[in-house]
């Protein structure tokens, strides 16, 4: 399979296989006018299988979303066809409006203006809890 290499843009590499579409949706890449390629199940020495997203434009990425969905991902910044920066992703300490609290008794279910905020409560199990009601995030 052939995907043109990009001149100025971003490659999100080492995405956990199967998570590419989720990241595409959460980052709202469908709203971009430029070329965007999602490669699913690419072979990887390190991971076996991985997903890759290529974006042919300079855009700001929400690293918290990436870190939450696939902390194994890396972000390559390409300028004039050259890799100028490789960013490692870390698990974000806090998520704002990335996931939503599903507890019907939580105040965030009735206060429309309230941001849905989750804090990282357990790094190993990647557990996030709602700051208002402490319900586990899904």
């Amino acid at each position: 399979m052939n995907i043109d290499s990009i001149k100025n843009g971003i490659v999100i590499d080492h995405i956990e296989a199967g998570k590419g579409m989720e990241i595409y949706n959460l980052l709202k890449l469908d709203t971009l006018g430029c070329s965007v390629a999602i490669i699913k199940n690419a072979s990887s020495n390190k991971m076996g299988k991985k997903d890759i997203i290529k974006v042919d434009a300079k855009i700001d990425l929400d690293m918290d979303i990436l870190g939450f969905v696939s902390p194994s991902a890396t972000v390559d910044i390409i300028r004039d066809g050259v890799l100028i920066e490789k960013k490692k992703i870390t698990l974000p300490e806090k998520l704002v409006n990335v996931i939503y609290c599903k507890n019907p008794r939580c105040i965030s279910s009735t206060e429309q203006e309230l941001p849905h905020i989750f804090n990282l409560t357990n790094k190993e199990s990647r557990e996030y809890r709602c700051i208002y009601c402490e319900t586990k995030g899904e």
């Binding site: 008794r105 939580c106 105040i107 206060e111 429309q112 709602c130 700051i131 402490e134």
Partner: protein, 303 residues
């Protein structure tokens, strides 16, 4: 300006300070009678509660302060659709401190994020009720003189009882606490609460039989087993009486056992137990007023 939304907002040292202020208030009430002259407490209760609201209001009056009370949410701005955030912004224009009870979990936290005065969580649904835990801690301290090296039995509904979870979480900060968790299979303590005990290197044991463990307890914290928690009526009928405390059952208990209950009680402690000096649930209710006085003083930074 700080608020108390969760018992974990207070350090072990701050809890010790609140207990010590409460003890001083009990010994010298006159010294505190005008500490909050000119200050106003707003009690915003979006769901019915008599004892907690009256306890807060009595606490403020005994400090010389005044109370602005909203106890019927049907006649309040909430019924017009005002957000908790806006309510907090407005009420902090009128009051020096707010005590809030709300059926939605996290509502007092939202209030504290928007208020310019301290907010005390007076209960948010089934989530937190830090002043109840402070009341329990003051009671343990007054009855036992310490927080460490105690065998604490918690009996009844340990699954849904927020006071139980919060008390366990607070007591795991002290050394030598042994928890005895007494409940029907259906109402056992959730695993995350047991994990908190383990993570703090403390011991616990679980049983369904109150009588077998009663002799070893220093504290027995009773809670109500509610009919609606059971899947079928048979199980409820089978279990409801096994956790009714009677003078006969107490014969095997330690002579200095402290029997606590967050109240209201229904039938889980027989009225005949009330005259036993080991029953301290009504003293516990009184302690609730003193610890709230101490908390108001601390949050208002009154010396």
């Amino acid at each position: 300006m700080r608020s108390v939304i969760d018992i974990k907002d207070l350090s072990k040292e701050e809890i010790a300070e609140l207990v010590s202020i409460s003890e001083d208030i009990i010994s010298n009430p006159q010294k505190y009678a005008h500490k909050c002259d000119g200050k106003k407490l707003a009690t915003l209760f979006f769901e019915p509660s008599t004892r907690t609201r009256l306890s807060f209001e009595a606490a403020m009056y005994e400090l010389g302060g005044n109370v602005l009370s909203m106890s019927d949410s049907a006649s309040s701005s909430a019924s017009k659709g005002e957000s908790v955030a806006d309510t907090a912004k407005v009420i902090s224009c009128y009051a020096d401190i707010i005590a809030m009870r709300h059926p939605k979990e996290g509502a007092p936290m939202v209030a504290s994020m928007n208020s310019t005065v301290p907010v005390i969580n007076a209960g948010d649904g089934g989530h937190n009720h830090p002043t109840q835990t402070l009341t329990d801690l003051l009671t343990i301290h007054r009855e036992k003189g310490r927080f460490d090296n105690l065998t604490v039995g918690l009996c009844g509904d340990l699954k849904f009882g927020r006071t139980v979870h919060s008390l366990i979480s607070a007591l795991t900060r002290y050394e030598g606490i042994k928890f005895v968790l007494i409940s029907p299979e259906e109402l056992k303590v959730p695993s995350y609460v047991k994990n908190t005990i383990k993570e703090n290197g403390l011991e616990y044991k679980q049983t369904t039989d109150l009588m077998s463990v009663l002799p070893e307890l220093d504290i027995l914290y009773m809670t109500r087993v509610q009919r609606e928690r059971f899947f079928n009526e048979e199980d409820y009928l089978r279990l409801k009486d096994s956790y009714v405390l009677t003078p006969e059952k107490l014969e095997s208990a330690k002579i200095d056992l402290s029997i606590m209950h967050p109240l209201p009680r229904v039938n889980e402690i027989s009225v005949a137990v009330d005259n036993d000096p080991r029953a301290c649930y009504f003293r516990q209710a009184l302690n609730g007023k003193y610890i709230r006085m101490a908390l108001i003083l601390k949050l208002l930074e009154v010396e």
